[in-house]
């Protein structure tokens, strides 16, 4: 076959240019040179095409050929994704390991989910049925936790003229033939989708449900919504990755996708070693059964880092289309932005702020807008939630990636160096963080946790804010000078900070705390505050209040009261009331 081939004329790292490219399409996937490296066309000018290459270009020569694949950079979507780990262009790392050993070499070629693996398929339609795009036609039990729902690919509707029987099939076998009046479409267990195009949905819906993470500072103070977006910015060593891992472990999404974008290799290995051992509190099965990993570590080719984010979100959308709530952890979007910058620099584009290309904000917006709570084509309610870590240079939140991310996300969980230095984890700063979802989640919290939960949250946050003002004064004159009412605020703030906000990721109970326990803990602190306030108003010195054993008990209640508590909180509350009653009695009497 006489294929059109481009001829390489320019090589500069991952960016190459070639002539004879006028028949190629923008964003088309190509293979480059004799080693058949994978690349993508990113601009065409006359007959000169520019290609970004997803593998190392060492050894490439001028005059080598570029071959078309005829399709844009796509992923194969079907059973075999969950529990797997892929590189930035959906090549399974296990497959690469088998092929090239411990070190990743170039020229491995395209690979994706295993198309020869056989799965048990339950077919739900019969010949003569009408199939609509996005509708369910068969199921595969992909893991004990996840039923993989096979759907008619978007864009195809018509009459089913052939349906396979229940049985064991591999991914290449035709399960269904759909006649749309013009052509007959063969439908297999997998579909292909270009990563840069969002998958269609029927309707976007308003956000109403929280993503429950079991992390007190998030669930109580700065909730993230299902279908929402959140950013976790923080300098190095502030615990971004730790926070992301905690969210990946405990979020109540059906499927978690973790994109390690330009981060450390050992961190991905840690996830690979830990997750199969960790048990999901909702299902009692290993977390790996609902986890998808995408890894482009910082030393893997930079162009594939740029693609990894899109590969990830496309896979997430595919599972969303089945009716699942999917949460994506992208760690870190800054590395992705830097990959954009690096390629832009090699293209000699005019730089905007700090060398980042001018299209950085629009790319960020495109990415975060692919999150959402939707009605799928198959009429299910489902969501994609994006939680992106941001690694600002020098820990300075005024840099372009953090600032532009802030414009497009709903919740902002700012990590604080000072807190991290004091080993206050999660080091989420309660003064600079915010959640834009409070209003839309208000009624959910009312119905599902407690009528006064949001109210309680507001009051406690106010204590923390007052504390920060008082600390300014304390810095100048010391704590002893303050009146007792104000010193009480400092003490209560300490209770909140140590007893509530700090959460121990390595403690078996404290690593994940259900919402009702969060509520009861907060109520205990509030009760103590109210009583103490009343006591102090009566002129009883604060030392009496603070010296009580109760104060220490509150600090440690996160450990001492189990997650499946029974009467412990009631008893504790009674104890607190009784203590203060007796204190007042003794004082007055």
């Amino acid at each position: 076959m006489d294929k059109i081939q481009g001829i390489i004329t320019y090589i500069n790292g991952p960016v190459i240019k070639a002539k004879n490219m006028e028949m190629f399409k923008m964003r088309e996937m190509v293979t480059v040179g004799e080693k058949r490296l994978i690349g993508e066309i990113i601009s065409i000018d006359g007959d000169i095409g520019t290609v970004q290459v997803y593998e190392e270009t060492t050894g490439l020569k001028i005059g080598e050929k570029i071959n078309s694949t005829g399709k844009p950079l796509s992923v194969k979507l079907g059973p075999g994704i969950i529990g797997n780990i892929f590189d930035g262009i959906q090549r399974p790392l296990n497959f690469i390991y088998e092929k090239s050993g411990g070190f990743i070499s170039e020229g491995i070629g395209l690979a994706s989910i295993d198309l020869t693996k056989k799965w048990d398929v339950v077919v739900l339609v019969k010949e003569g049925d009408i199939a609509k795009e996005g509708s369910l036609f068969a199921t595969v039990q992909e893991t004990p936790l996840i039923t993989h729902k096979l759907m008619i690919p978007p864009g195809i509707s018509g009459k089913i003229i052939y349906a396979a029987k229940n049985g064991t099939y591999d991914l290449e076998e035709v399960l269904l033939k759909v006649d749309d009046g013009k052509t007959v479409h063969d439908i297999k267990m997998y579909q292909e989708w270009p990563v840069r195009t969002p998958r269609p949905v029927k309707k976007r819906m308003p956000i109403e449900k929280p993503l429950i993470t079991g992390q007190r500072v998030i669930d109580t103070f700065f909730p993230v919504a299902k279908g929402g977006t959140a950013a976790i910015p923080g300098g190095f060593g502030t615990g971004k990755t730790m926070t992301q891992h905690q969210l990946a472990k405990w979020s109540d999404a059906d499927i978690i996708e973790y994109i390690g974008c330009g981060e450390r290799g050992n961190e991905m290995t840690e996830v690979l070693e830990d997750f199969p051992k960790l048990i999901d509190p909702n299902s009692n099965l290993p977390l790996m059964n609902r986890t998808i990993l995408i890894a482009n570590t910082s030393n893997m080719p930079v162009a594939a880092r740029e693609a990894s984010i899109y590969t990830g979100i496309t896979i997430a959308e595919y599972f969303r289309d089945m009716g699942y709530n999917v949460a994506i952890m992208a760690d870190s979007t800054s590395r992705w932005a830097e990959a954009l910058r690096e390629i832009s620099g090699r293209l000699e584009e005019m730089p905007a702020e700090e060398g980042y290309p001018a299209y950085l904000p629009s790319r960020l917006a495109e990415f975060y807008e692919r999150a959402g709570y939707v009605t799928t084509l198959g009429n299910d309610e489902a969501s994609v939630t994006i939680i992106g870590a941001v690694s600002p240079a020098g820990g300075d939140f005024s840099e372009p990636v953090t600032q532009n991310t802030k414009r497009f996300v709903g919740a902002f969980l700012g990590l604080d160096k000072k807190l991290a230095y004091a080993r206050h984890y999660p080091a989420i700063n309660w003064l600079s963080s915010y959640s834009g979802y409070l209003a839309s989640l208000n009624s959910w919290y009312k119905d599902n946790v407690s009528e006064d939960f949001m109210n309680l949250r507001g009051q406690m946050l106010k204590v923390l804010q007052e504390e920060s003002k008082l600390l300014e004064i304390v810095k100048l004159v010391g704590e002893d000078v303050l009146p007792d009412e104000q010193r009480l605020i400092l003490e209560i703030a300490k209770l909140i900070k140590i007893g509530y906000l700090q959460q121990n990721a390595y403690h078996k109970d404290d690593t994940y705390v259900p919402l009702n326990k969060q509520y009861r803990m907060l109520r205990v602190i509030k009760l103590f505050y109210d009583h103490a306030n009343e006591t102090i108003k009566k002129g009883i010195p604060i030392s009496k209040v603070k010296s009580s054993q109760l104060y220490n008990d509150i600090l440690k209640m996160k450990y001492s009261i189990p997650n499946n508590y029974k009467n412990e909180f009631d008893d504790f509350e009674n104890q607190i009331s009784a203590y203060f009653d007796s204190l007042i009695e003794a004082y007055e009497g």
Partner: protein, 458 residues
């Protein structure tokens, strides 16, 4: 058969770069040999455009003319010859022997650029390395296979700390497994290089050290290759011969400056402070070569040393390094000036891997809680010091005074130790309990009461 062409003319010489045209069959990243009047130099292809090749020359280009040269393309990326005989040898920045031992024969040729390690093939590092330095063992524990840089400043004793680690670190206690040190010097002063040589000699490991030296007056561009040669040697020893390798790279700051110099002579779009936009990826291609792998019992532990320009931790070099490495050990000039060695500022210091390598079964069950408590209490000390500067020490509350006392004891007893003092992990933790016991029990909010009762003094 391939005819090897020689090109007798250059278009342009600019700083470390030369441009030549009429080139065919050159490949990206390959090594070229340049014959000049003053001997053979090496370079590598950094850009190809039609028949033009831009070559980055490793040695100096001074004395080179556009006519009097002969350039030959070798067709392969930079490779060095490796065998077990490299132990105890000294090489220059591009891997050529500079001691009297002659060439390395009969080994394997390896590409110095290496290849990214597949995360699937990695083994997660969990084994604690005892360095005998309390601040490191107790609070920022070094784990075998970790990359833990020392963030220092000019004039601070980072070299001594590195030397002390080399001498005291038990990197090979089990199975009598072999260990070795790979030392890469980039733009360091002659006396620093000599210091290390002497330190290795004194600790009796000289036979097990491979040195790659690019000194301050050696060609700048060579510096780009030096750590890559060193890491390739380390990979060879660790993964082909199952040895435990400690790699010391100093000074990363000189390396980054060399990178910037080349980037600007290539007229690339600069990122922060003129450093190239790919500084992060480039540094990652060094640091990520630490680790452990399936199919091999060896390991590579990296201790890169960098001097923070103007002691500024937000400078791009420490900043990007911190994002890639698994923690950092930060030295403080202020502590140094109070005559405390090692002058480690523990608050910004961190070891990301320690969580999985300490505690029961690794060091001691109380280790995680104790280290967390020391961090939290010492950070309170800083607040108290700030307060006492305003209102005076006498006006402090009793508990704040206790904190001041704790802070002093921490620095004088725990942090401070002699250059040849080698403390076991037990000694370090007992010392931590000694100083924590200055504070009342109720202030120890990171430790559960059972552990407190077991260890609290008095």
């Amino acid at each position: 058969m391939n005819i090897i062409k020689e090109y007798m003319q250059l278009d342009k010489i600019e700083g470390p770069l030369i441009v030549l045209s009429g080139v065919d069959n050159a490949s990206y990243d390959e090594i070229v040999e340049i014959k000049t009047n003053s001997g053979i130099k090496h370079g590598k292809v950094v850009q190809l455009h039609n028949d033009k090749a831009i070559v980055q020359v490793f040695e100096t280009t001074s004395g080179m003319s556009v006519r009097d040269v002969s350039v030959r393309f070798t067709g392969s990326p930079l490779e060095i010859n490796l065998s077990k005989d490299i132990l105890g040898r000294v090489f220059n920045g591009i891997g050529e022997p500079i001691d009297d031992g002659g060439e390395i024969f009969g080994g394997v040729k390896m590409d110095v650029n290496g290849r990214p390690m597949n995360p699937v093939a990695r083994r997660y590092p969990r084994n604690f390395i005892q360095t005998g330095i309390s601040a490191i063992d107790g609070l920022t524990t070094l784990i075998r296979g970790q990359k833990l840089p020392i963030f220092s400043g000019n004039g601070l004793p980072h070299n001594q700390i590195a030397a002390q680690i080399v001498r005291q670190a038990k990197i090979s206690e089990e199975e009598g497994q072999d260990f070795a040190v790979v030392f890469a010097a980039m733009g360091v002063k002659h006396d620093d290089a000599h210091y290390f040589l002497k330190a290795f000699e004194e600790s009796g490991v000289l036979e097990r050290v491979v040195m790659f030296l690019n000194l301050a007056d050696d060609p700048v561009v060579e510096r780009i290759i030096t750590p890559r040669c060193a890491l390739t040697a380390a990979e060879y020893l660790a993964f082909n011969h199952n040895m435990h390798i400690l790699v010391i790279m100093t000074d990363i700051t000189s390396y980054c400056e060399a990178l910037r110099e080349i980037s600007s002579s290539r007229e690339e779009v600069p990122g922060r402070k003129g450093y190239p936009g790919y500084l992060y990826s480039d540094l990652a291609s060094l640091y990520e070569r630490a680790g452990m792998m399936e199919d091999s019992s060896g390991s590579i532990t990296q201790i890169p040393i960098l001097t923070m320009p103007n002691d500024d931790i937000t400078h791009p070099i420490p900043d990007l390094t911190g994002y890639i490495t698994e923690g950092q050990i930060v030295l403080s000039r202020e502590i140094f000036q109070r005559n405390i060695y090692p002058p480690i500022n523990i608050l910004p210091s961190l070891s990301r891997l320690m969580k999985d390598g300490i505690g029961e079964g690794y060091t001691r069950d109380d280790h995680p809680a104790v280290s967390s408590q020391v961090f939290s209490s010492y950070s309170r000390v800083q607040e108290v010091i700030a307060l006492s500067q305003v209102i005076g020490e006498d006006e402090l509350s009793d508990i704040d005074k206790k904190y001041l006392e704790f802070g002093r004891a921490f620095e004088e007893k725990f942090l401070k130790q002699d250059f040849d003092e080698n403390r076991s992990i037990d000694e370090t933790l007992e010392l931590a309990w000694d100083i924590l016991s200055i504070l009342p029990k109720s202030e120890l909010d990171r430790i559960d009461s059972k552990t407190i009762d077991a260890h609290y003094r008095g």
